[in-house]
């Protein structure tokens, strides 16, 4: 795999392996690919920033001497990139991002980069304390969102072709006889056993239950200690809200920037009149939960949560989305 990937000349991004705080980093020339994946290798920042950067220039402008405005073209491109070794939760995040930013009306900034990204997911061998992928319709071996899926098997690596987007690489691998037949794949798949979790969300039932719970007093208790920072959403692999600001360099030139925004900031829904429909923290937390488990599933047929557990793990005040969802509409 290392050889085949090196031959393509593509940029390869892998989990930094830092476990706690870090991101996906570029694999150095000659570097080794990760051999396993699990909660202990999952970086704190998800891979979405590759195709949905926190800081993206949408256009630049210069005002000419005669008053004409020259608008610089936006660059919606990046080096051809392969993400390697993403756990199934991060792999599946691309399904949610695609459905929001690509499906009905392709967003050029995202689409341009997404077209240059290949995803090689890896079956996950270690669930963490905050993982709940099996509750949201995924599993440690699900290949949703992947183009190729790899299953570590001792010193071997079984590869499954999921889409045709990385066929160039796939053909090189086949030539090296690394491809897996169905039978071998099924045999090794069994090793990646989902951890039995004590809660299960059934998408449709959950959406109905949450809709009924819109006026529940529990939202206030759920969010009374929320500090309204951006951790849960900025670290979420599927959250994709943004803000657009014009940044003037001087009186004659500047640029238009897109940066991550979050429903947890009060100003997110602030209106110029000073009215704010989500002034209270509980209303903002409710929006976060309902977007993931009610609105997005109704619109796109899958939950906008991959159970990666980052928002629980890194929340500074121990707000637990799984606990909240269980309380309002889950079943044991």
């Amino acid at each position: 795999m290392e050889k085949a990937l090196a031959e393509t000349g593509w940029r390869v991004m892998v989990p930094s392996g830092a476990g706690r705080k870090g991101g996906y980093v570029e694999l150095r020339a000659g570097g080794r690919l990760p051999r396993e994946c699990g909660d202990h290798t999952k970086p704190s920042t998800p891979p979405k920033g590759l195709v949905f950067p926190n800081n993206e220039e949408l256009l630049s402008y210069v005002l000419g001497v005669k008053g004409e405005i020259e608008v610089g073209p936006a660059s919606h491109t990046m080096a051809r990139t392969v993400l390697y070794g993403t756990p199934p939760c991060d792999t599946a995040s691309f399904r949610a991002l695609d459905s929001a930013l690509l499906k009905d009306m392709a967003e050029p900034g995202y689409a341009g980069k997404r077209g240059l990204l290949g995803v090689i997911g890896m079956a996950c061998s270690r669930a963490g304390r905050w993982c709940f992928c099996t509750s949201v319709g995924l599993s440690p071996r699900s290949n949703i969102g992947a183009d190729l899926m790899v299953y570590p098997d001792g010193d071997d690596l079984l590869v499954e072709r999921v889409s045709d987007r990385l066929d160039g690489l796939w053909k090189r691998l086949e030539a090296g006889a690394a491809g897996a037949d169905e039978k071998a794949l099924r045999a090794v798949e069994g090793k990646f056993v989902p951890r039995v979790l004590n809660f299960v969300f059934e998408a449709e039932k959950l959406a109905d239950a949450l809709e009924k719970a819109f006026g529940s007093p529990y939202w206030k208790e759920f969010s009374e200690r929320c500090v309204s920072c951006g951790i849960c959403t900025f670290l979420c692999p599927t959250c994709h809200c943004f803000d657009i600001t014009d940044v003037a360099k001087d009186e004659l030139s500047g640029k238009r920037l897109r940066t991550w925004d979050t429903c947890q900031f009060p100003e997110f829904t602030g209106e110029t009149s000073a009215h704010n429909p989500r002034k209270e923290r509980w209303a903002r937390q409710r929006q976060r939960v309902l977007h993931k488990f009610l609105y997005h599933p109704r619109n796109h047929g899958h939950m906008m949560c991959t159970g990666c557990g980052r928002c629980i793990r890194y929340c500074p005040v121990d707000i637990n989305i799984a606990e909240g969802v269980m309380r309002l509409g889950g079943s044991k």
Partner: protein
């Protein structure tokens, strides 16, 4: 050796007594959550036996009840409150009291004497509620798992020297000698040549994702409208459009070394004489920025140059609102 189960029981007695006797309407305390030994701040009213039962005090009470007061200030206004604080929370509370952000007469302060904190996530989840949590001079123990204080994830606690706790009620006795406020990283950074130092800070500023967790978790970062990037604007329907249009933007939304530096360094300057070195900002930072390295630049000046001890007593004047004739910066100012 300290046994936090018995100290928690004592704390529950005090809290329930205050509520029963009607001395307070509500109490802000830590309770055990879903994810032991993690704890969370909780608002407890009379009759909430379900919550009262979970009230806890341990080295895993790592969040600040004062941040909770700050965040719920409007909702709690005019109510008589009990608040459980550890040493650094009390220092932060003193800062807010000095600045008249809160009123002392509205509060009944229950102090828990703290020997240091430990990161809950470094310990395995204790099976069952009966697993003892203890500590001594050397470290923290949960069941069979023991970690030294130096190895428990809280560097700021190792240099905490605050012992002036004078709350209304107190739980526990110190079981460990307090540290000395010596911060090694400053000497190390100041020894770097300017170019290297610049590289060091540039790398630090570059990684910031501007989630503002550091500002939001901070117990004393209490401005309604932050000067840097207001998450909340102090405007009303009567605010004139010209005022809104002319609101200064000190750091724009761009995530770049220079804009992030404006945010992080301005925060550092605003925190001079207010930062109690609880270290929560650094622990909360999701990208692992060593924020105390920046904050200690001003903390060090406050402590060494001005010999001011932050949040020692609510009657002390605030650092930036006090003047001493011995002020070393006042030489040659025309006096």
């Amino acid at each position: 050796m300290r046994d936090y189960r018995s100290e928690s029981a004592r704390l529950r007695e005090i809290v329930s007594g205050l509520l029963e006797r009607g001395e307070v309407e509500l109490v802000v305390a830590w309770t055990e959550g879903e994810d032991r030994p993690r704890t969370r701040e909780t608002l407890i009213g009379k009759g909430r036996e379900d919550l009262l039962r979970k009230v806890v005090w341990s080295p895993f009470c790592t969040t600040s009840t004062v941040t909770f007061l700050k965040k719920n200030k409007a909702a709690l206004a005019g109510k008589r409150l009990g608040v459980v604080v550890k040493d650094c929370d009390l220092q932060a509370l003193n800062v807010l009291l000095q600045e008249h952000f809160l009123k002392r007469e509205d509060l009944v302060i229950i102090g828990v004497r703290c020997d240091g904190l430990a990161e809950a996530d470094l310990f395995p989840r204790p099976e069952g509620a009966e697993v003892p949590i203890t500590s001594d001079g050397g470290g923290v123990t949960v069941g069979k798992q023991r970690r030294a204080w130096e190895d428990s994830g809280f560097t700021t606690c190792l240099t905490c020297s605050y012992e002036d706790m004078k709350p209304d009620h107190v739980v526990g006795e110190y079981g460990r000698k307090k540290g000395k406020p010596e911060w090694g990283h400053l000497a190390r950074l100041q020894a770097l040549e300017p170019g290297k130092r610049r590289e060091h800070y540039a790398a630090l500023f570059e990684s910031c994702i501007r989630c503002y967790a550091c500002r939001e978790v901070c117990p004393v970062c209490a401005c309604v409208e932050c000067a840097i990037d207001p998450g909340e604007r102090a405007i009303t329907p009567r605010t004139a459009p010209s005022v809104k249009a002319c609101a200064p933007v000190w750091a724009c939304r761009e995530r770049s070394v220079s804009e992030n530096a404006v945010y992080l360094l301005t925060r550092t300057m605003h925190m001079a004489g207010r930062c109690v070195r609880c270290g929560w900002c650094e622990r909360a930072c999701p990208v692992g920025l060593p924020l105390m390295e920046i904050l200690d630049l001003s903390n060090d000046a406050v402590r060494r140059v001005y010999r001011y001890e932050v949040g020692r007593d609510p009657a002390d004047p605030p650092f930036l609102a006090s003047y001493a004739e011995t002020d070393p910066d006042d030489k040659g100012a025309g006096h």
